[in-house]
Each structure stands twice: as C-alpha cells, then as structure tokens.
C-alpha cells in the first residue's frame, strides 16, 4: 500500500544523516506502518506491552547512567554500561529531545549484547517503534524477555 504523506515525512526524518548518522530504518524496505504493526504483534504474542518494555528498558538505562560508565548489575547475569556523548537528539515524531549516549546491555552468561539509547526508550513507549531491521539500535522483540529479564520467554 502506498505510504500516506505524513508517514513519508516521518520516513525522511528517519533516513541516515537526517537526525543520526545511521538513521532509524536500517535496510528495512517495509512501510513504517508495517514495521510498527509487525512488532506490535510480536510484543503482544510475548504477553507484553510497549509500556512494560519501555519501563524496564528505562530502568536499565537509568541504572547504567548512574554508574557513569562503569558496568551496572541490573539483574542476575545482566550488566549495562553507559557511554556518554554531548548533545541531545530529537525524536523523528518531533515530540521531544533526548540525551545522546548509548547503553550496552550484556548477558554475562552468553556474551549476547543489546544496544539502546534514551531515545529508543521513548520511541518504544510513545510510538511502539523498535526501529527498522538492520538499524544499529534495532531491538528485536523476541530478544526482550531474555535481555531485559522480562517475563515472556
């Protein structure tokens, strides 16, 4: 289905170089609505809501930021490290500005990692957006129960 003009404008802001170097869509050729709908269905299938995910991710991000770059133990076998950066980054939906910097969450038992930012948390909470496949900060819903120690696995 052809994208409507409003979605078109949003997609333009999500392109590499518009707001961030890599953009928010990766190599995903699907429409934005399809991306949102598919991930919403995946989250629902896990028995979770976007808000639950965002709250847990937000807790982890805050714990990592408080640790000022040192590893923070956020659950048994789960560590989070914050890498600070100067400046703020706007949400493509133009509904807020968010601190730059990233949090790397590591499952210390398997070495698996997941990256997120304060903006990631907001986009999940406010828009159910986990970013396009191939995006640097894409969060696959299926990984969440394991990586955030959430119910649903």
């Amino acid at each position: 289905m052809k994208e409507m003009p409003a979605e078109d404008a949003l997609r333009r802001k999500m392109q590499p170089g518009a707001i961030s170097g890599g953009g928010f869509l990766g190599s995903d050729a699907r429409s934005l609505q399809e991306i949102l709908d598919t991930d919403a269905a995946a989250i629902a299938a896990l028995g979770l809501t976007h808000l639950q995910v965002a709250e847990r991710l937000g807790e982890i991000v805050r714990a990592a930021m408080a640790a000022q770059g040192a590893p923070a133990e956020v659950a048994a076998g789960l560590q989070a490290v914050y890498c600070e950066a100067r400046g703020r980054v706007p949400c493509p939906w133009s509904d807020g500005m968010f601190e730059k910097g990233q949090v790397e969450i590591t499952d210390t038992r398997t070495g698996e990692t997941l990256l997120c930012t304060p903006l990631s948390v907001h986009m999940i909470a406010a828009h159910g957006f986990y970013q396009g496949r191939g995006s640097h900060y894409r969060i696959e819903p299926g990984r969440l129960p394991r990586m955030l120690a959430l119910p649903g696995e």
Binding site: Q68, P90, K100
Partner: protein
C-alpha cells in the same frame, strides 16, 4: 468501500499537489522584496532578502544563532524571541516550545520565514560570534575512542575567546548525507593560541559529526566553525576550586589550566578526572608533570572499573565517590564540572554535602 478509498486517495493526491504548487510558487514566483530585521530594539538592523528563514537570514548577515540540525527544525537550539512580524506559529515549531516560551513569543528561527519586517531579541553576546574557515593541522588519537582535532584558522586568522567556551563545528554532507549540521565542542587550547582551535572529540556510535571526524576527516582538509559560545568560565574570585570531568569533558579544563599557567593565576585547584579503565585515560603524563611542578595544582585521575591488566594503584571508584573521599569542607570553595547530565547531577549532590552552594557551582552539561 473501494469507492471511499479511491475518493480518499484522490483528495490526498489533489491536496498534496496543491501544497507542492504553493511551495514552488512561494519559492520561485513570490517576491517579498527587502525586509528589515530589527535586533534588540535597533541595537542592530539588517536589510535582508525576504522569503528565507530567519535563521539563515541572520547567518547570511553574520549573526550566528546556535543550531545543531542546520535548519531542519529538529534540534530546537535556534530559539529567538520575536516581538513582531513572525506570523503564526508553524506546526513544526509547537512541539519544540514550552507553553511559557510560546507565551513569551519565543520561536524556532529556522522555521520562521521572513516575509515582512521583523523585530527580534537575541542575547547580545551572539554579536561576537563569527564564522571561521580553517585547515585541519592535526588529528591525533588520545584513546581508542577520543581524538584531538587541531585546526589552523585561515579566515579570519584569529579567534578571541575565554577559556571554557565552545565552538560549533560545521559538518558538511558526506556519504550521501542530507546537508550540513553543527556540533558543539569545547575549545581545549588556551586563548593565547588565537590562530588555532583545538577540540577533544569522543566517537559517538552512529553520530553524524564524530563519524565524519573519525572516518572521513584528514589533515589538510578545510573545515568551518562558528564561535565562541558559552558561559562556562572561571569566576573572578580567588577561591579554591575543585574540577570534575571525564573523557572529552577534559577539554575546557585543559584550556583553562594552560591559560592559568601562562597568566600566573595561582588559584589552588584539584582536578578529579574520571575514566572507566586505563585505556580511557589521556594527557595523564602532561597533567601529572604539571601537578609536580605547580604547588597550586593537584591532579587526581580515578578509574571506576580498571581491567586486571591495568595494574592500577591509583584512586578507584566513580569520580563522584572519589571526590567525596578527598573533599572535607568545601564552604569556601567553588566547583567546576563538565560532563553528562547524570555525572553533573551526582557531582552537584556531593558538592552540596561538602557545603559548596549552588552559586559557587559552575557547569557545562553535555545535554
């Protein structure tokens, strides 16, 4: 149902076409003539070609309002108070302004089109901002993810600044990107080196500017910047100081310290420099040497999570914990902080507990 969908699509298509035609007409057919921009009750008056954004009109006349996004209406840095002539608030502005700001006639200047005479207010210090063109003289690695960029200024050939201030580096389009953006970096050279601008830049994953610096910029390349900006600087008092920073937050202190040395400003200060592990430390030898030579300067590097192979026998813990251990009574001291909002907020807490009051705490918050 199909008829409704077709009708809806048709309405969207027709509206979209008319909108596009209007934009084209405004860009190429409408002539707003010359418009006057009155700044700060006629402190300065500009005559500009109407039809451009307020931000770009001001920049074209050498008045550089800060902007990170290059006029795309996403960063909200370019706020300007517009007393008259701006027209109604654009839909792109409203999400970036608070209710108080809207009430105070604050506007996003890159989203305001100059179609008639306009009266605006800007901080007078913006008149001192200039645009500089220079050449990359050196680009050296300080750590695995931090570089020092040294620019030789060409036009104009010198910059006048106060140690602690920052510049905005102009990032050109590269790799298929979509136009210039600007990023703020504190100057790390002392003002005596007026023919150069030096900055300390940490790689931001997916960052537009730092990707350009780390992957594309070469010695000899031309670069542009505006400045100097910012209020972070030493106070005029003789009070003892505590400095707290980590990573690229070192930049303003490296400028300030070298300025103090050159000007024989012997204010007692202790610099607490935080890092995670040894690989994140830099300029340690230089700062250690200065701490040995200067009886008024103490340098305390601290690692929050040293690697086993670091064989670190210095201070350990979060930098805020180290400060809390070292500082006893700060009642007659001043605090200077540079770093992420989280670190600064935690540091302010510690300084409060050591009796350093808010009016004696100065900071450059990264956000």
């Amino acid at each position: 149902m199909i008829a409704i969908l077709i009708a809806t699509a048709l309405v969207f298509a027709i509206s979209g076409t008319f909108a596009a035609l209007l934009l084209v007409a405004e860009r190429y057919l409408v002539n707003y003539g010359r418009c006057e921009i009155d700044i700060n009750a006629s402190q300065r008056t500009l005559s500009v070609k109407g039809g451009e954004s307020l931000l770009s009109s001001l920049m074209a006349e050498g008045v550089f309002v800060p902007s990170a996004c290059g006029g795309r209406g996403t960063c909200a840095y370019c706020k300007v108070k517009v007393a008259a002539g701006a027209g109604p608030l654009a839909p792109t502005e409203a999400p970036l302004l608070s209710e108080d700001e809207i009430r105070d006639n604050v506007r996003i200047s890159c989203q305001v089109k100059v179609r008639n005479d306009v009266r605006i207010e800007i901080p007078p210090e913006l008149f001192a901002i200039k645009r500089f063109v220079g050449t990359v003289e050196a680009l050296r690695d300080l750590t695995h993810d931090i570089k020092e960029l040294r620019i030789a200024l060409v036009d104009p050939p010198e910059i006048d600044f106060v140690p602690g201030q920052y510049i905005q580096l102009e990032v050109p389009s590269y790799g298929g990107g979509r136009g210039e953006v600007y990023r703020a970096y504190s100057m790390s050279n002392p003002p005596s080196e007026a023919r150069h601008v030096e900055t300390i830049i940490r790689l931001v994953p997916e960052g537009i500017c730092t990707t350009w610096v780390f992957q594309h910029l070469r010695v000899g390349d031309a670069v542009a910047l505006t400045g100097p900006y910012g209020e972070f600087r030493l106070s005029d008092s003789p009070r003892e100081m505590v400095w707290i920073a980590g990573g690229s937050g070192m930049a303003p202190f490296w400028s300030i310290l070298r300025h103090m040395i050159e000007n024989d400003i012997r204010r007692k200060c202790t610099y607490f420099f935080g890092a995670v592990a040894k690989r994140d430390l830099f300029l340690i030898d230089e700062l250690g040497r200065l701490a040995e030579e200067l009886d008024w300067f103490t340098f305390v590097p601290a690692l929050s999570s040293p690697a086993a192979e670091d064989n670190w026998d210095g201070e350990q813990g979060l930098i805020t914990e180290v400060v809390a251990r070292h500082l006893s009574d700060g009642a007659e001291m001043e605090g200077y902080l540079c770093g992420s909002p989280g670190m600064i907020d935690a540091a302010i807490d510690v300084l409060h507990k050591k009796s350093i009051t808010d009016n004696r705490i100065f900071y450059d918050k990264f956000a």
